[in-house]
């Protein structure tokens, strides 16, 4: 199979879709000749022209509002926000318009839009360009929230997001853009939202990890395997909707669970997943406290060492697993 990077997979998905589906267009800041802040749309303006690859003014509220309006008229816009930190500016449009309109019009209007935006730290981009705010949008009924962790998932999930008649917030990760999958089919495919992926099977402890944490969890599982500890890694892929069943079944099997995300632990989505587990059938199977790993409650530091220190790293996951198994 072909090896493709995360960026290439996203670009390929959008291009293939735009070739087939004339309702799809993309809009965002500097996505034209410049190719966007991380080069995801590089070369697309040459193929599709400025009508379908639209550069916008620097106004996230304006970009998002335009997308919502066009979606209501039947288009399928894909918004790119340069940094997911700026979603705060688009929040009124997202929370009060995009998420509500289909409901308030009794289903007579849809908002089939996708908002793509890179999140996460690790690039030295400092406090205003490094956050992971997915819990903000996950809280709003009416918005779907996707966090692909691999190139393969990115292409399939983006296709599902474009096809979805509801607004989908599609969180990409800056550190993952250059990672690649060896098995990305050229032919278009769709990965259903709300279906978790067991990235590694194991029997003794489950790690539920999102986005970049999936890779750290897999590294941790590798380290622990050498110690004879069998770790299962589950990637929810979308946190709204959340595949509760896969997580619950895994915890019933392993009796221990660690939930890891890059977002600040306080108020993060890990709390939601942890509560879901303890409210579920899995409660009676828990043999250790549910453990959450998330960032410290501080602004993301510019200093690369501090930046690394505030977010969970592979070693933190290894340690958490050992504690859960009382082998710390």
């Amino acid at each position: 199979m072909r090896e493709l990077t995360y960026v290439e997979a996203l670009r390929e998905c959008m291009s293939q879709e735009m070739r087939e589906n004339e309702n799809v267009f993309i809009l965002g800041e500097d996505i034209g000749v410049y190719g966007g802040a991380f080069g995801v749309t590089r070369g697309m303006i040459e193929e599709f022209g400025p009508e379908r690859v639209r550069n916008t003014p620097i106004s996230e509220a304006g970009i998002t509002g335009s997308a919502i309006g066009s979606a209501l008229t039947g288009m399928q816009p894909i918004v790119e926000l340069q940094f997911s930190d700026f979603i705060t500016i688009a929040m009124d449009q997202l929370a009060n318009q995009a998420a509500k309109l289909r409901y308030m019009y009794g289903g007579k209007g849809n908002v089939p839009m996708v908002l793509r935006t890179p999140a996460g730290s690790g690039t030295g981009a400092a406090a205003q360009h490094s956050q992971s705010l997915e819990a903000w949008v996950a809280h709003i009924p009416g918005l779907k929230v996707v966090q692909p962790s691999t190139a393969y998932d990115a292409k399939g999930l983006l296709k599902a997001a474009i096809d979805d008649p509801n607004p989908v917030i599609f969180y990409e990760h800056k550190l993952l853009y250059k990672t690649s999958s060896e098995d990305v089919p050229e032919k278009m495919y769709s990965l259903p939202l709300g279906q978790a992926d067991i990235k590694r099977e194991g029997t003794e402890v489950t790690i539920v990890a999102t986005s970049v944490m999936v890779h750290r969890a897999l590294e941790a599982a590798e380290v622990l395997a050498e110690e004879g500890i069998s770790v299962e890694v589950i990637d929810p892929r979308s946190i709204v909707p959340l595949d509760e069943e896969t997580i619950v079944q895994s915890v019933i099997k392993t009796n221990r669970v660690i939930i890891a995300h890059e977002a600040v632990k306080r108020g993060g989505y890990g709390g939601e997943i942890a509560s879901m587990i303890t409210e579920s059938e899995a409660f009676d199977f828990l043999d250790a406290p549910v453990k959450r790993l998330g960032a410290s409650p501080v602004p993301v530091p510019y200093n690369p060492e501090l930046e690394k220190a505030m977010t969970p790293q592979t070693e933190d996951l290894v340690q958490a697993c050992r504690e859960s198994l009382q082998r710390a």
Partner: protein, 439 residues
């Protein structure tokens, strides 16, 4: 320092316990683990073992006294030690005292119920403990702060499979005596070993040895009372064959009506009870007892008929009070409920007291007649055998009649042969012509 002996709380619903017997007198030395007294609760009777070594300084209650749980019933301590002259009023805190070996009964309680929020265990450990019917309080946790994990429960269950069942006290004492519990035969449910089972043990039992059942509880009561009655009361037993034709007719005529009224079936026992009660009215000497000092004969005003009931635990005799005033419907109601309670071990002590006459019916077995032993201090007891078709003379022909043999044992100290025979004749007459019961 003298230690209290408490009335144990043996089940979650137990509020009072009846003292069945004291194994020790005041001043007797008491070994740790030795039974001190036997108590009957609403469900079971059990010997309460001493948790202290010393002298039984005081017992505040006598046999048959009904004592609220957690009340101090006595003290164990050093000789000459001072203890209150009367029972301390204040009941002990709700907590179960250690004397009672609470774990004996807790096996059936789900582990989580035992936790009281005090035991640190994971949900998985609790689930596994519950599934295996083991107590979290019995095991040690390997986790932080002694938290019990799933594996700890598995380990415990596995170890328990290899270890004989024993009470913590028995285990402790076996350890002290360097005794292998595998060589001890337990007297408890599921051969659970009690501390007292340790005495005289130590040799491996062989297949040739007889099974040993300790004489305790109901068995003990029956044993004592029967031995006493048989050895002190001059028994005479009279036999009479009773034609049951009319009783059968009566029963079939009333059956539907009584089932409708009570939900229970009318059996011959109740018809006999009715006849006996009626006959007792005419023969007060049979409804009598000897006073404790044997100086007087007490003629009872009430006719309270006891009914011997076989239970898994042994013989019990619940009493139908005022049977003489009851019609058949009320007798059916009363006796069926008592028998049910008896079999479910739910009889209250007062439901077994106050009897003035007893009927023991073995008619469901291939028994014709027998010599029933009088239920002291009553004056007599009527034994009933099986009903069978018996040849009889009628107008010069031989016909078959359903007949039952009645065996009346009476206390010859209270009543003589002739009046007893007259009583039995009346009972026979009332059953053969039951319309007399209407008079």
């Amino acid at each position: 320092m003298a230690k209290e002996i408490f009335m144990p709380k043996l089940s979650s619903t137990m509020e009072t316990g009846t003292i069945l017997q004291w194994m020790k007198k005041e001043g007797d030395p008491v070994e740790m683990g030795e039974p001190v007294f036997e108590v009957m609760s609403d469900k079971i009777n059990i010997e309460v073992e001493a948790y202290e070594e010393g002298v039984l300084l005081k017992k505040y209650y006598d046999v048959d006294d009904v004592v609220p749980v957690n009340t101090i019933v006595g003290y164990i301590g050093e000789e000459e030690e001072e203890v209150p002259e009367t029972a301390p009023e204040e009941p002990a805190p709700e907590e179960t005292s250690q004397e009672e070996e609470p774990k004996e009964y807790a096996d059936t309680v789900p582990a989580t119920a035992d936790a009281n929020g005090q035991i640190r265990a994971t949900p998985a450990a609790r689930r596994v403990a519950k599934e295996n019917g083991v107590l979290l309080s019995d095991m040690e946790g390997s986790g932080p702060k002694q938290r019990i994990h799933q594996q700890d429960v598995y380990d415990y269950v596995q170890a328990a499979g290899e270890k004989p069942k024993a009470t913590p006290l028995a285990r402790k004492r076996a350890e002290e005596q360097n005794l292998d519990l595998n060589t001890v035969e337990g007297s408890g449910p599921g051969s659970k070993i009690y501390a007292k089972d340790l005495t005289g043990s130590g040799q491996k039992t062989t297949g040739a040895e007889p099974g040993r059942i300790p004489v305790k509880g109901i068995r003990k009561i029956v044993a004592d009372r029967m031995a006493e009655s048989a050895s002190t009361v001059p028994h005479v037993t009279l036999y009479s064959e009773v034609d049951m034709t009319e009783a059968i007719r009566l029963r079939s005529q009333l059956q539907d009506k009584i089932v409708e009224e009570t939900g229970y079936k009318l059996s011959y026992t109740e018809i006999m009870m009715k006849a006996v009660a009626e006959a007792l009215k005419r023969h007060p000497y049979l409804n009598a007892s000897l006073s404790a000092d044997q100086q007087e004969i007490l003629l009872h005003k009430e006719i309270n008929v006891g009914l011997a009931v076989a239970t898994e635990q042994g013989l019990v005799v619940p009493v139908v009070p005022r049977a003489g005033e009851k019609g058949l419907t009320a007798l059916v109601q009363a006796s069926k409920q008592l028998a049910e309670n008896a079999r479910n071990q739910r009889l209250q002590p007062e439901q077994m007291q106050g009897g003035t006459f007893t009927i023991s019916n073995l008619g469901m077995y291939a028994v014709d007649g027998f010599t029933p032993i009088i239920n002291q201090p009553e004056a007599a007891i009527l034994g009933v055998g099986q009903m069978k078709e018996t040849p009889a003379e009628e107008n010069g022909n031989v016909v078959f009649r359903p007949k039952t043999t009645f065996s009346l044992s009476f206390d010859h100290r209270i009543v003589d042969g002739a009046p007893a025979a007259a009583f039995l004749s009346d009972v026979k007459q009332l059953i053969e012509a039951p319309y007399e019961l209407l008079m």
